[in-house]
């Protein structure tokens, strides 16, 4: 379901800053104001590097995640579905034995296994963001690399747990991919140890 258009989201900060009376409009070599155009914006997406795309989307992703996330609940979906969730509970174990390290959190209802890096797999963040659509990208390579760049960004954003966190209570803002009757990926965006 298409919810928000990327271009509309990009205009929101523009409007907000303009209302504050700040210098928002850049000038080109001839001193003429450069007003970003919708069409141009969309066209330029296909030429951006994955890192640049991740940088561009990150603030909107966090904003959307904070706004729409609900408490995590194990559920059944048809096919695959990704969303932003909040997970709160007690850290059972932090498994650092592999590069695909994980932290298991007991929420009281279920145990959730979160990926904490340095290798994070899957597309949970990209797919949970309502404004990121495959149609807007050049091809699957660019689309896939965006995912990896977003995972990397997440790793710079969340505080990485270690084995000393065992037994502590944590609040996590995360992106989750549900597949059929189970969870296939949980990627944290923010982790707070109480």
């Amino acid at each position: 379901m298409r919810v928000m258009n990327l271009t509309k989201l990009s205009l929101i900060p523009m409007f907000c800053v303009a209302l504050l009376g700040c210098d928002v409009v850049k000038l080109d070599q001839n001193g003429n104001p450069i007003i970003p155009m919708t069409a141009e914006e969309a066209a330029s997406l296909t030429n951006l590097s994955p890192e640049a795309l991740a940088d561009r989307f990150w603030a909107d992703i966090l904003r959307e995640a904070n706004t729409v996330s609900k408490a995590f609940e194990q559920k059944q979906v048809e096919g695959k579905n990704s969303e932003f969730v909040r997970i709160s509970g007690i850290v059972e174990i932090v498994d650092d034995s592999k590069k695909t390290a994980t932290m298991t959190v007991a929420t009281g209802k279920e145990d959730v296994v979160l990926q904490i890096g340095p290798i994070i797999r899957g597309n949970a963040i990209r797919d949970a963001a309502s404004f990121i659509n495959f149609d807007d990208f050049k091809n699957q390579v660019q689309f896939a690399r965006l995912s990896k760049a977003l995972n990397k960004k997440a790793m710079t954003n969340f505080t990485r747990p270690d084995s000393s966190w065992s037994g502590s209570t944590v609040d996590v803002l995360a992106a989750v991919t549900f597949k059929g009757a189970s969870v296939s990926e949980v990627v944290p965006l923010e982790i707070v140890k109480r």
Partner: protein, 311 residues
Amino acid sequence: MKNKLLTISALAIATAFSGFTMADNGLIAIITPSHDNPFFKAEAMGAQAKAEELGYTTLVASHDDDANKQDQLISTAIARKAKAIILDNAGSDVTIGALEKAKKAGVPAFLIDREINKTGVAISQIVSNNYQGAQLGAEKFVELMGGEGKYVELLGRESDTNAHVRSQGYHDIIDDYTDMEMVAQQTANWSQPEAFTRMESILQANPDIKGVISGNDTMALGAEAALKAAGRDDVIVVGFDGSDYVRDSILAGANIKATVLQPAWDQAQMAMVQADQYIRTGSTGLDEKQLMDCILIDDSNAKQLDTFAMK
């Protein structure tokens, strides 16, 4: 009595005839790369089966990965007033022009497997998520290699986007493992005999390899044959496509341990269903670009694999 018989016969013939004409909802052109590769044959057969089920007649042809031939076939489809084109295309840039022609002529196109680098030209692009599939294959490969050791990569044909997409997907995963070392990376052009020859020489120059990751199944089979000939049962191989031959290899416990299935049959059938929907209602109700995930095949599920579909 005679009249009744005649009437019944006449009725029977009339029904049969009208049944025949009612079954013809128009022509669907199904164009893919050469059927020499069972993958493309499965696509074509899948699309044809669904088209006929839905009451269309079909024209099945191969462009042999030649942009000019593809152009001619698309022009033929237009001239024959096809209701739709189902296409696994010959190049993500070169195809755009031909499809713009088809669009102008009012013939909608439904792409499968390979995407093109432009939206708004085809109605649907049901694209194999080759990158995701490659990531799956690479994750399995890393697991089989124990996360370390020397390996070889066999690449597909240089001019085929998928060769690059898969290699990028492989490295997306493997390069994070600093203890894995790629000692050779060569193209075998999707060819089984060429992969055999390459593997032979690579093995002679690098006897201490642990694994081979291949851009597709036909090359994986060629590599396996070379490894067998050299008595190297210890070297693991991972392929891509989900062919029946590789399935047999996996089940027999040979060098090839895994492959990645692109659901060719399902994709082709999906494309036909969307084409039918579009022809009847003017819309598919879906986004143009649809990524279809691939499935990892190893000894845990190889038994269910048959003609590029899971039974």
